[in-house]
Amino acid sequence: TPHFRHLSCCSHFQPWSSHCDPAFWHTLADRKINVLRLHGHTLPIFGTYPVAHTASAYLHSLAPPVFFDQLSFTQGNTEPTRDSASGMFGITGTVHLVDSLEAFKAVDKARFLHDAGKPAWEAILSGAALENPSLLNVTAALVYPDLKQHVFTYWFAFPALSPDTEFRVAACKPLGSVYPNGSDQALLHNAASSQKEPCFLVRHRGSNAASGIVETLPLKAWSTAQANVTALAVVDAGTVPNCPSWLLRNLLVFVCVTYKLQWVRVICLRPTVGGSDSSFVMDVVLPTIPRQPPPRVVGWEKTGKGANGPRTVNLAEFMDPVRLAAAAS
């Protein structure tokens, strides 16, 4: 165990940014009118997030998006593992619909968020997250669809379990300085681009770390391979240098509760863009997290201006049949 004399700072995580395209709103309106009608108020949803960004997105540290589209409501589209056709990972959750702005405001936001984070916490306690770590990556949205005006007021949450004591980063280094062996780096990047799950374990094949040959294992192998595990690897969607993305938060809570470790080495793997490798390795000092009571939950998405509140989308120009007809004639 290394001695952490220089605890630099508490770790920061780059939040998701919800990205709902017009097909998402069309489909939501259709489901509300034709399926839920007057009485139904919740719909399961499914989003996708890419781990490969344009070079420009990295250059400008654009918030990592979670995409919601016409397929977000597809029944049975609940498998949160990577879709090999699109190269994207999935995130599952629920949309809660309300019938007025007053009802929207009246919702107890703390309770809503706590409930939204419950599945992730339960997956940790039950051990289900070990088999399926994607259960830790969840979302919930509160939506007031004004179907007459084609205006949608919405607020996404990406629930993160938040321990009383924050995670602290003891050391953060470029991947290449921790794993100088080129074949190790290649192996890690290949694993990152082919794994179904957004995280996996890394261990040294030999007894000697200096031999420099690593291998990868699924997360569920941890209990049997724990003594030899040297790092937890995450396929990271973040765009800010040395700052992991949101997904890692609940994963670290999982590690705390399940393995009661004092620290863990985390490899954040990012796709190589334009020849530069922005992958990095962090040693994270972990707090103790009891199984009771459940940790508090944070994760309401901020508006574009950094405020805590909903956003409004006005699609009348693209959805109102009268205006579309006028524009086309």
Binding site: F13, S17, S56, H60, F67, D69, R249, K302, K305, A327
Partner: protein, 283 residues
């Protein structure tokens, strides 16, 4: 009227036999099979692009169900087209021989009226005035939610200190247009806060020659929504010209590189939308 034109075209499309043999070199057009191969190459080379099956109700039988159109989302767009227009025009058009008129000029059926009146119609509505702040968040409605010191700040005053930039973004899709036997690009933009742009706002990111002539807001062939699209009536002529030019200069060009060539051509139309395309083929 554009509606009649669309109806006419969909009828013609339904009776037009699907192009079976390649006329890539002769006419700059593409078969559906060539589109799939070219799309596969794009997705392989540029992982920010992917295939989608789109809306199952709109699946076209001449394409594989899971490969109906190509999509890339959340593409940054830092500046408006007019800020870079002059330089792009010089780069792209000067060498193209007969000049831009050749493909910029709109045929009588293309969408100048559609484009003009869709922004015109917008001026009546609440989302009308153009610019980025037309559709306000419910700004005065915020809530006290629990403080989260572990979240990297992404907006507001705190983010002003960091290098994090807020920018417009675009979703782009490429579809196969059976009528014109070429590709067609569809776009939808979002402002710096992630809210949909108005049509007028999107036209700011399309070179002036096109924004007012060949761009319309239309029903997407594979998605249940309306998108801005560049009319493809002159695409094959431009592609043919690009192919000829490359061959004349001794460069090898294959049908599966069509999408790269097409995206290079489209980058002159939407010069500030920074989508990904490997410069495999350069003319």
């Amino acid at each position: 009227c554009a509606k009649m034109q669309n109806l006419f075209r969909s009828v013609v499309e339904s009776i037009t036999p699907t192009l079976k043999t390649s006329h890539f070199f002769e006419n700059g057009v593409l078969t559906p099979e060539e589109f799939v191969k070219a799309g596969d190459l794009l997705v392989y080379k540029c992982p920010t692009w992917s295939w989608t099956g789109g809306d199952p109700a709109r699946t076209k039988p001449y394409l594989p169900p899971d490969k109906q159109c190509l999509v890339t989302k959340g593409v940054p767009c830092l500046r408006r087209a007019r800020q870079v227009e002059a330089s792009v025009r010089d780069e792209f058009f000067v060498s193209s021989g007969e000049g831009e008129e050749d493909w910029v000029a709109t045929s009588s059926e293309a969408g100048p009226t559609g484009a003009a009146s869709s922004s015109g119609a917008a001026s009546g509505g609440p989302a009308a005035a153009g610019g980025d702040d037309d559709i306000p968040d419910i700004d005065d409605y915020t809530e006290d939610v629990e403080d989260d010191p572990s979240a990297l700040s992404t907006g507001g005053a705190a983010a002003a200190d960091s290098n994090i930039l807020r920018t417009r973004t675009y979703d782009l899709t490429i579809t196969y247009d059976k009528y014109y036997q070429t590709l067609r690009i569809w776009l939808f933009g979002y402002n710096e806060s992630g809210q949909p742009l108005t049509a007028k706002g999107m036209f700011e990111d399309i070179s002036a020659d096109h924004a007012n002539k060949t761009v319309t807001i239309e029903q997407h062939p594979h998605l249940p929504a309306h998108y801005a699209t560049i009319h493809p009536c002159k695409h094959s002529a431009v592609m043919k010209k690009l192919i000829d030019k490359m061959q004349e200069s001794g460069k090898e060009i294959r049908p599966d590189q069509y999408v790269f060539l097409f995206l290079k051509f489209i980058s002159a139309v939407i010069p500030t939308i920074e989508y990904d395309y490997t410069i495999e083929v350069s003319s």
